[in-house]
Symmetry: C2
Subunit: 110 residues, 2 copies
DNA sequence: TGCATATATGAATATATGTAGATATTAACA
DNA sequence: TGTTAATATCTACATATATTCATATATGCA
């Protein structure tokens, strides 16, 4: 039981583990958006973006809805943005730590 | 610049994207711990656990310190636990949503 | 010094993932 | 109905990841 929860968490982390998919989510932070607007915003081939959208869909991070000829995407649970934000601060803290280590190392070499 | 931040975030998400690595972090939530205690707790081959620890180390999620014959690990930045917790609630919300959809679907079939 | 213990590393293999190009599907509209 | 636009899917290939077994390294101790 606990094992399955770990696997589900790992699966969603895996779905977040690609810069293009993070870019897609950052675009969707503004609100629902159709694929034809996502593609130029995140860059890359249409088929590739579509593939990454499928990965986000399969893990239920986003859901899609057909509106005429377009398909609109939106984030299912805004908690995902909190996770993205915490990861930003985690990465920044890490960068600062590296910077401090580097500085104190170079100081001790003088 | 923004591109590199996305890549760094993706890299840390990738490091979290394995059930065994999540189990290791849940063990380290209790506090620093040596490998010989981590292995029986998370299960699996010694070399495999060691590989996963190396992945967590490379992404700076944990750091290690030699104490005599043992190596002790600890989490570098406790923010990682907040991320794990948010992911738990994300997964639970998702499960509840699936449950609701399932229930209303079966109701409509009666 | 030689041995035992704890841990990391390397190599080999199986499996998963990412990318691009080609093609299929669906809806709108002339 | 035929054509175009938006999107998804399929295929093939390259790359990354996970697992296991074998081996290397480092520490403590007889």
């Amino acid at each position: 039981m606990q094992e399955e929860i770990q696997e589900m968490r790992a699966a969603v982390f895996n779905a977040l583990a690609h810069p293009l998919r993070i870019k897609i989510l950052e675009k969707l932070r503004e609100g629902p958006c159709c694929v034809c607007n996502i593609i130029p915003c995140v860059g890359g081939e249409q088929s590739n973006v579509s593939h990454h959208l499928a990965i986000l869909r399969k893990s239920n991070i986003v859901r899609s809805e057909k509106r005429g000829i377009e398909v609109w995407y939106e984030v299912t649970d805004p908690t995902i943005f909190d996770i993205l934000d915490l990861m930003s601060s985690c990465v920044l803290t890490n960068l600062k730590r590296s910077k401090n280590i580097l500085e104190s190392t170079t100081r001790s070499l003088q």
